[in-house]
Amino acid sequence: MGEEITKNSLAFHTGHNLHAKNTVRIPESHTLHVGPAACARRHAIKAFENHDAANVSHLAVSEEDLAAGSYEDRIIEAVATLNETLPAKPRLYFICLKCVDDLIGTDGEAMVETLEKAFPEQRFAITRIDPIMLSDTRSPSEQNKATHYRFIEPNQPHDNGVTLIGSYTDIPTDCELRDVLASWNMGPIRRILDCKTYADYQDLGKSRIAIMASPMGMRAAKELSSIADMPCRKAPLGYSPQAAARFYGELAELCGKPRPANLAQWKAAAESALETAAVAAAEFEFAVDSSASLQSFMLAKTMLEHGFKVSCITTKGVTELEREAYDWIVENAPDVRIVRTHSYQALTKDGYGLNENLIAIGSDFARMIGAKRSVDLWHDEGVFAFQGIFKLCRMIEEAAR
């Protein structure tokens, strides 16, 4: 994250009960969480909820282990025990380190080397869940997503497949992308979440192109591009008809195919849908939450450009990706309040000082500020390109009714 919007970073958590989160699991892999017991609890419970508990174990390190400055031996012992105990010996291990590891400074690559020497038939990777290291240059979650692609064999022959990166959800069945790809004889669409076998996982490297469905897949896209020599296009961002049209143009060029015949109509229909939704919701102000869209400034900009009354945007900071939209909003809509996501200010008597009768884009934020109307969008999941714009408009109109 970049620039801080408000200096005070004390946060109020809303709790994550509203949204199920998927788990990325490479077939035949096992995750060993390593850290204080408390740190792995939520991952363990989530693994149960996602039916992945058999692939996850936990090495609770003690303060004494940390005081000794290293727990490499403990990890080796744990892997040996797991190899003996698990019904099938994992092909891959992900060793997931926590915040405290950053204090003792484990060299991840050296640890992998040691582990692969101790267990030569198996491969290892270090992942990290260490929010104390969140910064403008480092997102542990983004890095972890990249690590998932590390074991794909390089230089596989390419087919007409499309590998989707960075999203926990599939391309919606009603999305025009599916028709476009089918008309180009491109497919299948491959996702790491759909891999049932290790061979399926390897097939991710066979696709002709990759689409980065979310900014969270930025590093993963780079990793896959470099391993599998696979060009990648970013999904259109910010619910912008113009960006969606540009995306299909670029995709056509990349695949050496003609532009979709209906592109201009789709763009015009999307523009019209946004304008219609803005009229339907004319009496309401809007708050755009960063948990709803990973591009909250871009979404807010699109809404402002189409006549919506956006009064508030929440964010943890302005990323480089969103810099242009942020600058545009500061210059063209100076009355829009930009507040810190999950700030303690939600608990003050007047909350963020927002009108209760607004529409919150994001039900988490709606709950936080007590808004009666909301659009249940989470991390842009279940929306893509033009389909995403149409769906957003339908949800806004419904919230306004």
């Binding site: 958590h13 204080p36 408390a38 363990a44 936990h58 390190v61 405290v100 910064s135 303690y344």
Partner: protein, 394 residues
């Protein structure tokens, strides 16, 4: 020493226990962490989070704080938040990172109090211990607050309930206990830690009798006993016969009798039963099983990952140090029936046909929400009967 868990999740941590114990008091609680710890508490271990908006915040600790010093930023930001939120007191809880870098939580609280003028307290939870340890530390603060709280009318005879937490019981427990005691004509002073408020804090120091309904409740009751000489009983009010026996004893104590109760006969032979869970809930269930027809000649042991108070132990009870310790106990103990959190069934040595489920939220978090035992109910009568049915089949 590090421990490996293959079958069970890591358990609810000490900072969760402390935050849970303070949840219903008028405190601005700051969990001093990067964000995962607060998320563990809010999303996984505190069912009241969804229905009660409380001032429990995350300090969003970052690496630069550990390099340049945590105290200055936290004092400044918490001071600002406390003023805006009109906080009457501030409590800062430790987590693994502050523990590893040696943050002085009491010192941090003192700085905070100096800067804000708001009474502030630091609790040195670490995330390396389990929830009962955090409740214990938080209770030291609760007791300190009780000493300075307005005294209730100590002429009236009443009891306190200690150790009700959503990490052991369903959240209905406070309401159900209130209803049970009201029906019995016994007044309740304070219900820690569900159903407590600032107005009832003073009652902690002058009840006729305290009733500990969990291991953490015993720790609290023993502190009050030591400080104020208040006698206590341990019973979880989850089985009908246990409830009846305890209520009779409570009345006798309120009339000046000594807290001596007659437990059912203990056998050391016959079928072997293991109850894995909180000590007081386990003891109550043990007594209920012993009162089942035909089950006088069974050996029942209680084992807990969260400590045993010696005064309430029986021979053969075990304080478990790890999942592998439990595996060893199961292998060597020759138990015919095991009672415990449903997640225990993942352990290959356990047989579903000889297992009775007893949800423990400190183990399974929100996975079985709504199925937790409720204090003030008869939830465990069915469990005792289920054990009896299995034994009869053997």
């Amino acid at each position: 020493m590090s421990t490996l868990s293959l079958f069970l999740p890591p358990f609810a941590s000490d900072y969760t226990g402390a935050a849970s114990a303070l949840f219903e008091l008028d405190c601005l609680v700051a969990i001093n962490d990067g964000s995962c710890c607060t998320s563990n508490f809010a999303s996984y271990d505190e069912p009241r989070w969804q229905s009660m908006r409380k001032q429990t915040l995350c300090t969003n600790l970052r690496m630069k704080d550990t390099v340049f010093g945590i105290d200055e930023r936290i004092v400044e930001q918490l001071g600002e938040a406390a003023r805006e939120l009109d906080a009457h007191r501030i409590v800062v809880l430790g987590t693994p990172v502050p523990a590893v870098i040696g943050t002085d939580m009491a010192g941090l609280a003192a700085e905070l109090e100096d800067a804000t003028g708001i009474p502030s307290f630091g609790i040195d939870t670490t995330g390396f211990s389990t929830y009962e340890s955090g409740i214990d530390k938080a209770f030291d603060l609760v007791l300190e607050l009780a000493k300075h709280a307005d005294a209730p009318d100590c002429g009236e005879s009443f009891v306190n309930i200690l150790g009700a937490t959503p990490l052991d019981f369903g959240t209905d427990s406070a309401r159900m206990l209130s209803s049970l005691f009201e029906q019995e004509g016994i007044a309740i002073g304070a219900q820690a830690f569900m159903g407590i408020d600032e107005a009832s804090l003073g009652a902690l120091r002058c009840a006729s009798c305290n009733i500990a309904i969990s291991y953490a409740g015993i720790s609290a009751a023993q502190k009050i006993e030591q400080e104020f000489g208040t006698p206590y009983l341990a019973c979880s009010f989850t089985t009908s016969q246990e409830t009846r026996a305890t209520l009779d004893l409570v009345r006798r104590i309120m009339n000046g009798a000594q807290p001596v109760r007659h437990e059912p006969t203990r056998a050391t032979s016959g079928r072997r039963i293991l109850i894995v869970g909180d000590q007081v809930i386990g003891n109550s269930l043990r007594n209920a099983i012993r009162r089942q027809p035909g089950l006088t000649n069974v050996t029942i042991h209680v084992a807990s990952f969260f400590g045993l108070h010696r005064r309430h132990e029986e021979n053969g009870d075990t304080s478990l140090s790890s999942e592998s310790h439990l595996a060893r106990l199961l292998k060597e103990g020759g138990y015919d029936v095991v009672v415990g959190d449903p997640l225990l069934l993942r352990m290959p040595m356990l047989d579903e046909g000889r297992f009775v489920s007893l949800v423990h939220p400190a183990v399974s978090s929100r996975l079985y929400r709504g199925q937790e035992p409720r204090a003030g109910s008869r939830d465990l009568d069915d469990k005792a009967k289920a054990v009896s049915d299995i034994v009869a089949r053997l």
